[in-house]
């Protein structure tokens, strides 16, 4: 699998997207903090975190005796540069330009 495959695979699961959203709200969390509101075994959460780590979306750092999980947004940015720029941005900017023009006429 390429790096892109790993990121798309990791993002294709609601629990994993939920974990990323939780880290977006507050970064640098322990496993205990992350599995607090999930109806899932600790082992299940660990498996999801492993998939996110393999995709580079979560980076862990040791701080004293704790292992903290950080959201790493760089792979999403690279997907954006590779896919969104290419297929979407031109159309989006054309549409937003059209919207501005039409609104100016009022």
């Amino acid at each position: 699998m390429t790096d892109d495959d790993l990121v798309f695979k990791a993002l294709a699961d609601p629990t994993r997207r939920h974990l990323l959203d939780r880290l977006f709200e507050r970064d640098g969390r322990t496993l205990t903090e992350l599995d607090a509101d999930l109806e899932m075994t600790r082992f299940g959460v660990m498996k999801h975190l492993r998939v996110l780590e393999d995709a580079g979306l979560v980076v862990t750092r040791r701080q004293g005796r704790e292992k903290l999980h950080f959201l790493n947004p760089v792979p999403i940015r690279l997907i954006h540069d590779r896919w969104i720029d290419k297929y979407a941005e031109r159309q989006v900017s054309a549409l937003s330009e059209l919207k501005t023009r039409l609104e100016e006429r009022r």
Binding site: D3, F24, E25, D27, G28, V74, P75, R77, L78, D81
Partner: protein
Amino acid sequence: MTTTVAQTTQVYQVFIKASAEQIWEAITRPEWTARYFHGAHVTVTPERYDSRSADGELWGDSAVEVFDPPRKLVHGWRSMYDPEMAAEEESRVTWEIDEDEQGVCLLTVIHDRLEGAPKTAASVSGAGWTGVISALKTLLETGKPLY
């Protein structure tokens, strides 16, 4: 949309197909940083981290804590390009470069000690560091700036 307080420790990581020496050059020399770091001309010596605009205006001027080429660089950060952010407390940036056997490096950038610099924390998070780091990767791997 969720609003959130910007994080006081931010971690960014990317694989780059380049040698550790090339990455070290790219983060410590102005002719490289000018091509991916919002035009900033950054010069790093064992003592000082100096960042300037193209016309020499001071954008950053902090002490270097760790200078261990081509593995680790730690320096202070003060966003001097904006008066409000410049007035905040100094934060810290750590660059770690780990090269594997295949000549691919894992670059980790940690911006921490941001407790006394909330405006700076918000400004460098999200598109800030992410944009700089992805542009650095593109420049080193393709030889061309991203924009």
